[in-house]
Structure formats: C-alpha cells, structure tokens
Amino acid sequence: MKRLNRFPLAALAIAMPLAVWSCKREERSFRVQPPAADTTDKVIVSKLRAGQMMATTTQRAATEPSGGPIAPPPPGIAPASKPSAGLVHNGYEENAYAVGEGNRLYLAYNCVGCHFHGGGGIGPPLMDDTWIYGSNPEQIFATIVEGRPNGMPSFRGKIVDYQVWQIVAYVRSMSGMLSKDVAPGRDDHMAGAPPPNSMRYQPPQWSTVGTIR
C-alpha cells in the first residue's frame, strides 16, 4: 500500500521540473532584443537584382562573394542532406510562441498570397526540400529583406527585424526543420498542407530551376 502511494509522488517529482523546464518553449517576451540583431550587416546579400537575368548555378556561384552564405555548392557535388549550421543562430526556432507569431505574420503580411500555405503559387513552394536561395536562417532572412529577382518583393524597412526572424523560423518549420514541440499545429481553416508539427523533415536541396531557365 505504501509503495503504491509512493509511485504517484515520484512521478510528480519528475513531472514538475519537466513541466517547468518545457515552459521555456512557450516563453513570451514582448520588448525583445531580436536574436542576432546585427545580422542585417553580417548577411552578405546577393548581387542579383530584380530585372537582371537569372544566371546558371555556376555563374551565380561565380558572382557571389566567396564564402557568401548563398553560394551554392559546386555543380556535380551532391548537396548535403542537412544544411550546415548557418551563420546565425535564430533563437526563435526554439520558441513556440515566436514561431506562432511568425505564422500569424506570414498571413498578415500576405506571404500567403504568393506562396499559399507552403504549397506555392506565384512564389515557389516553401514546404518542400527545394531551395533556390538557401534554407539557412540568414539566407531566408536575406530573401525576405532583399527580395529576389524573379518576383519576390523586398521587405526592407517594411517589417521590423525581430518579426522577420519570427517569419524565418516559421518558414523553416513548414518543411519540418524545427522540432515538433515548437512547430505550429494545424489551424482552424481549410486544411491544405499538413501542419508544421506533422511535417516530415525535408532535407534541403539546391534548386535546379536556375539552371533550366
């Protein structure tokens, strides 16, 4: 009898610290120093500008500053199955609230109008494994802030930095790159894609689209 009573107590003793610890993923701070606030300067931005012809992968690699974050691997070499750790660590990727905010902003700033719920439309799909401009946080950051030549508008000065990082975290969650306890669950609307927390991890690949065009 005594032993039986001890069991729930022990379980509670284990569960409580666990619960407290896992609250961290839900921590909310409103007056935030954005993670890596100074990355706008660090990010080496593509020389490509809207209106310029899309170069082939090789040409593009050649025009990038060497070691630039968006330089693709040389052709012929299979892309790594997982992206090398990016230049910056986006702390928001460990915070469910921030990723949820990213989700809300993705709708509010009408990314959804071009990319739909990840499946792509005017813009390329974001829930698959194919990345034209790279899948690392700072690469996606650059894509949003700078814009990309084939129709991705620049949001420079239009979205405050920390919100861009929240959107970056959400964009990465769409292809299953975030851990499942952080990625958003399904929303209340029409179900299109599976929710990010049920998404299979999509190892990012460099897109071949650029070479075809």
Binding site: R28, F30, R31, A108, Y109, G157, K158, I159, V160, Y162, Q163, D188
Partner: protein, 350 residues
C-alpha cells in the same frame, strides 16, 4: 450565518456602487434594450431579496424556538439527550408536510415566473426595431481592438474606423458582429446586453441611444494578453452632429501641405507603418491595425489604453509594448527626425 449574509449583501452593494460610473453601468439604461434588461434585473432583485429575507427570518425563528425548548438548564451541565421519539405526533407531522409542500410549490412558481420574465426580456431585446432609418455598422473584434465599418447602400460611402462608434440619438443602430482571430464579446452596458463575436460566424444585435453621451464598452470574453485594455466607446450625438461627423469621416485624408508633414508621410509609406495601417487617399492599405484616416478625431488611442495627446502618441509609436504588452504593434525604431516628421503628418489626419 445572518451576519455573514448581511456582510455579503453590503459588500455586493458596495461593489456595485463602486463600479457604477454613469457611462459604464447597466443600472443607468439609455436605450430600450438596456431598459428591458434593467427591468429584468429589478424583477430578479426584488424577488430574490424578498425570498432571502423570508428564508433568513424563518431560519431565525426556527433556531429561537429550538432554544426555548432546552432553555431550562442554564448553568448546569447539558442533560443527557432524551431517547429518540419514534412516535411522531401525526397532526404536527401533517402540518409540517403541508408547509413544506407550500414552500416547494412557491419555489417552483417563483422560478417559473422568473423564467417567464427572462424569456420575455430576451424576446424584447432581439426584436429588431421597426423604426426606419437604422444605421448599419459592422464591428470586427481583433486582438485587442475593434474595427468599425459603416455600411451604406452606396459603396463609395462605406468607410472604416476603430474603437469609437458614433451613433445618432433616437435612431436604431444595427450592429453585425464578427471576429478576426478569437472569440470576443461586445458589451456596452448602458445600451444593451453582451453578445459574443465569433470567428467565421456573424452575429447581430441592435440598440438605440436615447440620450447623447459617451458610453463605455468593454470586451467581455477573455481573448488574450490585452483583453482588459480592449475598451470601446459609443458616442451618441444628436442627429445633426452625427451627420456632420459622418460626412467628415467619409472623406479621405487631406494631402499634407508643409514640408515636414510631407516628409512624415514619406516615412509612413516607406516604413513598416503602411504594412499594417490604412490611410484613405494614400497608398497605405494595411489591414493588420486600425484605420488611421481620421485618427486625430479619436479621444483615445489603442482601444482606450491612452489618451490621444501628442506625447502619448509619440510614446505609443516608439514602444507600444510598454503601454500594451503583447499587442500586435511592434516597437518601431525611428530616428528622432523621422519620428518628429511622422507626428507632424499624423496630426493632419483629422
């Protein structure tokens, strides 16, 4: 027990008195709906008070009577209890049964009576007024502010504002309630009862303000961080004043004239503001935050969180997260010059 009851009712009255300012209370009805609700309240209050007093009085009498039975033994140790009486007095028993039955019947009757009063109040509130000339407004609840759209049969007359609803006195106002994110609840106690605002599902209510005045409303369904700072104001004006306001509100913003105001407009259009806010007559068309076309005509900013003064406005723009932590407007990092220009421009939005 009686002391407790008295304290409770005193406390209740004190709380009621404390929260009753004239423009935010169901106890000062200013329209037909609120009047119905107030009558309903009075009926309930009277009946409940009477029942309460009777119940307490009877309990008191009963306890006194019991004491008289055993009172002869003051000062002595309590005598051993008499053996339980198995033989009951049949006449007394019959009398008691009769009175218990009377009380049950009275309770049922009173409850049905109150039910009837309640039903007829609800019917009266929801019957749409047959008066012509209703004002049609769509109110959408957002976390944590109210979008207010004035509908009109001529599309060019439709316009949007926020947090402050102007209505004419003596005319019915029909409000369609919607929600953009989570459930909110529309409640202006002086004018009508609460009604929930549900995402993807419109609900309706109507009210009429009989006296001019500013009536406070409040979101009445918990909706997140800033639920408490989700205030609403219904401003009832005589019809002529209302028509003047309506005509002004329908016009787009005037283009800025001074150099610094023009710079401020540039800041607004080129920076993040235009992603979230609409200003009629300019390219800014964001729908995330309130329409700012005539923001200077509002008494308060951010759904009643702060007064609309230049200093408060500047503070709000730089750091809304201090005033309303968690709200959907981010901190904005503006240079002093940009901020100054922006404020000068916003001042023109009358």
């Amino acid at each position: 027990m009686i002391g407790g009851g008295v304290v409770t009712s005193l406390f209740n009255s004190a709380v009621l008195a404390a929260i009753s300012t004239d423009n935010h209370t169901a106890l000062a009805p200013t329209g037909p709906q609120a009047q119905h609700i107030f009558n309903d309240y009075k009926a309930f209050y009277t009946v409940c008070i009477i029942v309460y007093v009777l119940t307490v009085a009877i309990a008191l009498i009963a306890s006194r009577r019991h004491r008289q039975d055993t009172d002869g033994h003051k000062g002595e140790a309590h005598p051993p209890l008499p053996p339980p009486q198995l033989q009951l007095d049949p006449t007394r028993e019959a009398k008691m049964t009769f009175w218990v039955n009377v009380c049950i019947a009275a309770t049922v009757l009173i409850l049905f009576g109150l039910l009837f009063v309640d039903f007829s109040t609800a019917r009266a509130i929801h019957q749409f007024s047959s008066k012509p000339g209703a004002v049609n407004i769509v109110v959408t609840g957002h976390q944590w502010w109210w979008e207010v759209r004035y509908d009109d049969e001529h599309p060019q007359n439709v316009f949007t504002t926020a947090n402050e609803i102007h209505v004419p006195t003596g005319r019915p106002v029909k409000i369609v309630l919607q929600a953009a994110d989570v459930i909110h609840s529309f409640w202006v106690p002086n004018l009508t009862g609460k009604k929930d605002m549900i995402p993807n599902h419109s609900t309706e209510l109507w009210f009429q303000a009989d006296k001019p005045g500013i009536y406070w409303g409040q979101c009445a369904e918990f909706c997140g961080f800033e639920h408490a700072k989700m205030r609403l104001f219904v401003i009832a004006d005589p019809p002529e004043v209302f028509d003047g306001w309506l005509n002004a509100a329908r016009t787009p913003s005037r283009p800025p004239l001074e150099q610094i105001q023009k710079q401020g407009q540039q800041v607004f259009m080129l920076k993040q503001c235009s992603m979230c806010h609409t200003i009629g007559g300019t390219p800014a068309g964001g729908r995330v935050g309130p329409d700012l076309t005539h923001v200077m005509n509002r008494y308060t900013l951010a759904a009643g969180a702060i007064r609309n003064t230049p200093g408060q406005l500047a503070g709000w723009i730089l750091d809304p997260q201090v005033i309303k932590p968690g709200c959907r407007m981010p901190q904005n990092n503006l240079s002093p010059h940009d901020l100054q220009a922006l404020l000068e421009y916003l001042r023109t939005l009358q």
